[in-house]
Symmetry: C2
DNA sequence: TATTATATATGACACCTTGTCACAATGCAA
DNA sequence: TTGCATTGTGACAAGGTGTCATATATAATA
């Protein structure tokens, strides 16, 4: 996380820095992007940068966190509308996610992110509740899981439900990555995702 | 790909270089690994390195290709044994894959690979036939697909079958990555994978 | 207001990369 | 031996990162 000093900065300076960095990360991958380029564009001295951030990653994942809209909340809403049916919930949630990720202003940032994402980045992008995955402490906090109608699912516990939802999430992400890589239209990505969701929901076997 | 010059090298020199590089890539990620370290350990001059390889990636993916056992062939065999049932095929194939990836001598190399893998690397590791994915030219070559019993599946075409198998492959990889990240035992990884395979096969909905 | 304390800014520096290139040293064939 | 093709070499330019002693604001206190 950025330091207190960073958050003490004037809005103008802070936003300028973030804007410049976001632009850099939208054009280059995390590895290719350079602190030099950022501080030069933002007219900030090298020393200052390191007073705000531990390193490039620190800045990067702060931006990821910022950009990522509160998707979990949105999903909960769709889940409620769907009376706790996660398949319907995911289907209706997916278009929102696509828009957030594949349309301006975030499209290029996400493209770079997804095409160069490693395991760590995956966790940063995934909904927090699902990725945390502490097997014991799930039931305590009132969470997405409480909105799910489990009776209609082949799951025996919240842990299994968690696994199932994480599976769907990862399939979802996978489709978006594939979409970025192959320049698929949103429609095509949706079709691909829905097909996989159908297999998972009803079985791929006759 | 490495140059002709590289393959002209004496076995001793070539193997020494590959050994040293493999060790480096088993301890550090592709990004962290340094050509300097490799050429120093292998007692090779900087100029020579660039006469063998275009860059670090060139060497890296050559090693990946080498290390990766011909998994496709193994899978075909399991598929035949299973009378074309891909679910049985994948179930029986998975333990082989786990051993190849999670036991000596490849374990650390794969761990680094998987924990820092991006989209490109994903494609390098995935079975070639599945990753190529040229929608037209699939049926021509006699391939895995010809061993699959499609009648029992909810797929309408070879393209759909390809998608389904790519889905399973990606779930499989995902489980292995998760396993590396969380230091799961092979047994736990298997259990996780089989559960997901069951959902996919028979449906996650009651 | 003058002085002290705290927070912020700075850029030279050491140390690391990578890829290139002019040149040296081989090996092999005529 | 001469000549050509192949292989080997390390200094070099250009770029990267993180640190640190020092300078400059800004706030707080006497």
């Amino acid at each position: 996380m950025p330091t207190k000093t960073f958050f003490n900065l004037s809005d103008a300076k802070r936003e300028r820095l973030i804007d410049v960095a976001t632009k850099e990360f939208s054009e280059k991958s995390l590895n290719e992007a350079s602190i030099n380029a950022i501080i030069k564009s933002a007219s900030i001295s090298r020393g200052s940068f390191y007073q705000y951030f531990e390193n490039k990653e620190d800045l990067y994942f702060y931006i990821v966190k910022t950009i990522k809209s509160d998707s979990e909340e949105l999903f909960k809403q769709e889940l409620k509308k769907a009376d706790g049916d996660i398949f319907v919930g995911f289907r209706n949630y997916f278009p929102h996610l696509l828009i957030n990720m594949m349309e301006e202003p975030n499209a290029n940032f996400y493209k770079q992110l997804f095409l160069h994402m490693d395991y760590r980045a995956t966790k940063e992008v995934a909904p927090e509740e699902l990725s945390s995955h502490e097997e014991g402490s799930i039931e305590t906090k009132k969470s997405v899981f409480s909105f799910v109608n489990r009776t209609q699912l082949q799951v025996d516990s919240v842990q299994e439900l968690n696994k199932l939802m994480r599976l769907i999430t990862s399939i979802m992400m996978h489709e978006i990555i594939e979409g970025f890589a192959r320049d698929y239209s949103q429609e095509k990505i949706k079709a691909n995702f829905y097909q996989k969701l159908n297999w998972l929901e009803f079985g791929a076997k006759k």
